[in-house]
Structure formats: structure tokens, C-alpha cells
Amino acid sequence: MGVMQPSAFEQILITTKVEKVMNWSRATSVWPVTFGLACCAIEMMAAGASRFDFDRFGAGIFRATPRQADLMIIAGTVTYKMAPVIKTLYDQMPEPKWVIAMGSCATAGGPFDSYHTVQGVDKIIPVDVFIPGCPPRPESLIYGFMKLQDKIMTSSLADRYKDIFEEVG
């Protein structure tokens, strides 16, 4: 039995649905890279553990290597010594990739306004979702993650590269 050839109208319809399918598959199986820096890491681990199960969102498998991950949850304080490491790891992640800045330290340096603390990880890498708290409860992390899922679901393939195309094209 052969497949019926789609008409021109159906071809356009299927392409849009493909984008939705791709977004849905990306959003429901976001694999984070293990990147706990400080106290927020313990709450991230608690979010992945028994009571607040992170695995039911499809994000249970924390990949050890950034090359297999598409989400980086910066959980903890970013220091001057650690900043180039974070940048290297972010560059090693393949597209599409997202970043959640978890906690006050990753958002804006947190309570540590000192000589060695970078005031926010968005000075180094672009961040998609900021989660305030010191540390944010696991429920907050899950809420932030769900917001990221919403962002992924409503993003389109052209969005990411629109700015570049506008400049160049």
C-alpha cells in the first residue's frame, strides 16, 4: 500500500505540524548537564530525587558531558575562576541549547557582592529562565523548568536565527 501524495496545501500544513512536533519532543526530553556549583545544587538534587521527581518531566537523565545535553542549569555562585570554565562548557553544548540560572547567585551574584564573584551568570552566557531564591525550593525549580518548556513549545525554528538574518540579509 503506497502513501497518498499530499496536495500543495497539505504540504504547508504538515511542515507547521513538524515544527510543533519538534518543539514538543525537545521540550519533553530536555537533558540537563550536571552543573551544580553550590547550595542550589543540593536543591537541584532534591528536585531530582524521590519527593519532587524531576524525571517525570523527561529531564531525569543528567548527562555528565555537555556534548550530550541541551540544558545547563547554573545552580550556584559563579566566581571569577570558574567563569571561563562555564563559557567553555556552554560552547561545547550543541544547538539547540538553553540555560536556566537557578538561584540568586546565578541571577545577579546573590548575597555575595565580593571581589571574586561574578554578579550573575548572564554576564557570561545568555540565559533563558531566571529562578530567584536562596536556594529556590525544588517546586520553584520545577516551575521555572515548566516555563522553559513553555518557551520551547512556543519557539519557532526561525526565531533563533532571525536576528542574524536581519543583520546580514
Binding site: 575562576k81 565580593s114 571581589y115 545568555p126
Partner: protein, 292 residues
């Protein structure tokens, strides 16, 4: 019946016109306030201070009495009533549970043994808050540590902590390096202290207690005190290219600007440039990213 309380809307000040620029320089975190006193606990200075305070108090009381005498004589001469006689002011007793532990004379056997064994290399011994402190000459620290560890009556097997403090207002020394020793078998603690001027390189305690390795590296990193004969005298907490020593009193909490990294770029650097442009329109100063 009392009048009902009508809540008043709080006074909200007018928002300042124009672009809001955070005044970094005014924040207390950016100020460097050099200390004017030398808070080095010592029984001798405490005794001197107590004596000076008592003398000042005595002088003040005598002056009050003398003033009263002259005022009384003046009043009698003019025929008026005599003024009230002065009452000795009693120091105000605070009704709280704070009882500051003052330095006391050294009575403990360990301290007296150290003083007997090291002679005039021991600059001072005293007790405070139940802790024993012994200040030795800066050249004799290794000898004192050997004595503490090996002497049969002392047996301080473990170096619990080694730390240092910056005293910029002091004359004759700039830092105090403290060693906290623990005797596990005898359940006792002891503090050894040396006063070190700027530029002096004390002997490393690694020869006696290998646990001093990282502790001395941290002191070097934070305060700039090098130690002689240390296996690896490099910075430990700050990166190797860090300038300045953080725990010195002339170093501001926010540092000298080394933490302001701005190597953020994204896919093409477009978003950053657009953001900078928008920030320029709002009047906020942002650091320009480097071209590398």
C-alpha cells in the same frame, strides 16, 4: 469608644526624573575604611588601659571636688546658698547577660612551661575566655612548635588552624599569625602567636605539622605573607594571575574590578550589541565586550 483607625496611604516619593544610574561609589561596600586601633588582645595592654582609665576617673573626681570647693567659696563670698556637693558617678551597670571575658594572668602549667623552656623568646603569656595564648618572637616559632609537639608534658599533636590578621595601624608589626594547637590525648588547646612586620618571611610550620601546607598557602593568598621552606608557595583560592591580597584592610570588598568579566557573546554577538545600543539610549553604562 475610640475613633476607628483610618489607614493612611504611605508617602511615596516622586520617582527621580531622567535615567537612573546606580551610584556605585556611594555604596558602603566600595569604601575602604582603614582601622585606627590595634585590636591585639594582650594582658599587658589591658592592664595599662585599666590603670589609665582608673587614673582618669580619679583625676575627674578630684576635679569635680575642686570645682565644688571653688564654687562653694564663691557662693559664700557672695552670700548665696552653697551649691550641691558632688556625687561620685557610679559606672552604669547594663542589665544584660553580656560578660566580656577580659585577659587574665597566666596560671596554666603549659604556659609556664613554655615560658621556662623558651626563656626570653616568649614575649607574653596570658589567658582569656578560657583559652591559653602565648606570644613568641617571630624567629623562634619553629622552635616553639617543635617543643609543643615533642615535649612529654605538652604533646600538642595536631595543628587545628593557622590564620593571620592585618593590623595596619600598628607600629613595629603589620600582621599577627596565630597557630591553634590541639592536644588530643590531653584534651587541651593552645594558641601561639607571632607578630610579623611587612616583608618578613616566617618559617613554615610544615616541617612540624604537615597540615600547615594549605593553611599557609591561604595566608599567602589572602594576606601576602610568604613562608620559608614551604613545598608549594602559590595562591590557592584566587587564580594565579590575581592581583592584590584580599584580606588586607586596604583592599575593598568588591575588589579592584577584576571580577567584571564581560566575555558574553551569543550566536553572532547580535543580541549583545542590540542590548548595548538600547542601554545607551536609556543612559545606563555597560562595559563594552572585548574584541577577542
Amino acid at each position: 469608644m475610640t475613633d476607628p483607625i483610618i489607614p493612611q496611604a504611605p508617602e511615596v516619593p516622586e520617582a527621580p526624573a531622567g535615567p537612573y544610574v546606580y551610584d556605585y561609589a556611594a555604596s558602603p561596600q566600595r569604601q575602604v575604611v582603614m582601622p585606627k586601633t590595634v585590636p591585639l588582645p594582650s594582658y599587658r595592654t589591658y592592664q595599662a588601659e585599666v590603670k589609665a582609665a582608673a587614673e582618669a576617673d580619679e583625676a575627674k573626681w578630684k576635679k569635680m571636688q575642686a570645682d565644688y570647693e571653688t564654687a562653694k567659696a564663691k557662693a559664700e563670698a557672695e552670700g548665696k546658698d552653697a551649691p550641691k556637693p558632688p556625687v561620685r558617678p557610679v559606672p552604669r551597670k547594663d542589665d544584660n547577660d553580656v560578660k566580656i571575658p577580659w585577659p587574665q594572668e597566666a596560671k596554666d602549667a603549659d604556659l609556664l612551661l613554655l615560658q621556662a623552656a623558651l626563656g626570653d623568646k616568649v614575649e607574653e603569656i596570658f589567658e582569656q575566655a578560657g583559652e591559653l595564648t602565648c606570644q613568641v618572637a617571630k624567629d623562634a616559632i619553629l622552635e616553639a612548635l617543635h617543643l609543643c609537639r615533642d615535649h612529654a608534658d605538652l604533646k600538642y599533636e595536631m595543628l587545628a588552624d593557622q590564620s593571620a590578621t592585618h593590623y595596619p595601624a600598628a607600629a613595629g608589626f603589620a600582621f599577627s599569625v596565630v597557630y591553634h594547637l590541639t592536644s588530643i590525648s590531653r584534651r587541651k588547646r593552645l594558641r601561639l602567636r607571632i607578630l610579623v612586620p611587612e616583608g618578613f618571611v616566617p618559617e613554615s610550620a610544615c616541617a612540624v605539622y604537615p597540615s600547615a601546607n594549605w593553611m599557609e598557602r591561604e595566608i599567602f593568598d589572602m594576606l601576602g605573607i610568604g613562608f620559608a621552606n614551604h613545598p608549594d608557595m602559590t595562591r590557592i583560592l584566587c587564580p594565579d594571575d590575581w592581583e592584590g591580597h584580599a584580606l588586607r584592610k586596604d583592599y575593598p570588598v568588591v575588589g579592584w574590578g577584576q571580577r567584571d568579566v564581560a566575555f558574553r557573546e551569543d550566536r553572532g554577538g547580535m543580541i549583545e550589541r542590540i542590548a548595548l545600543q538600547k542601554a545607551g539610549q536609556l543612559g545606563i553604562n555597560l562595559k563594552q565586550p572585548k574584541a577577542e
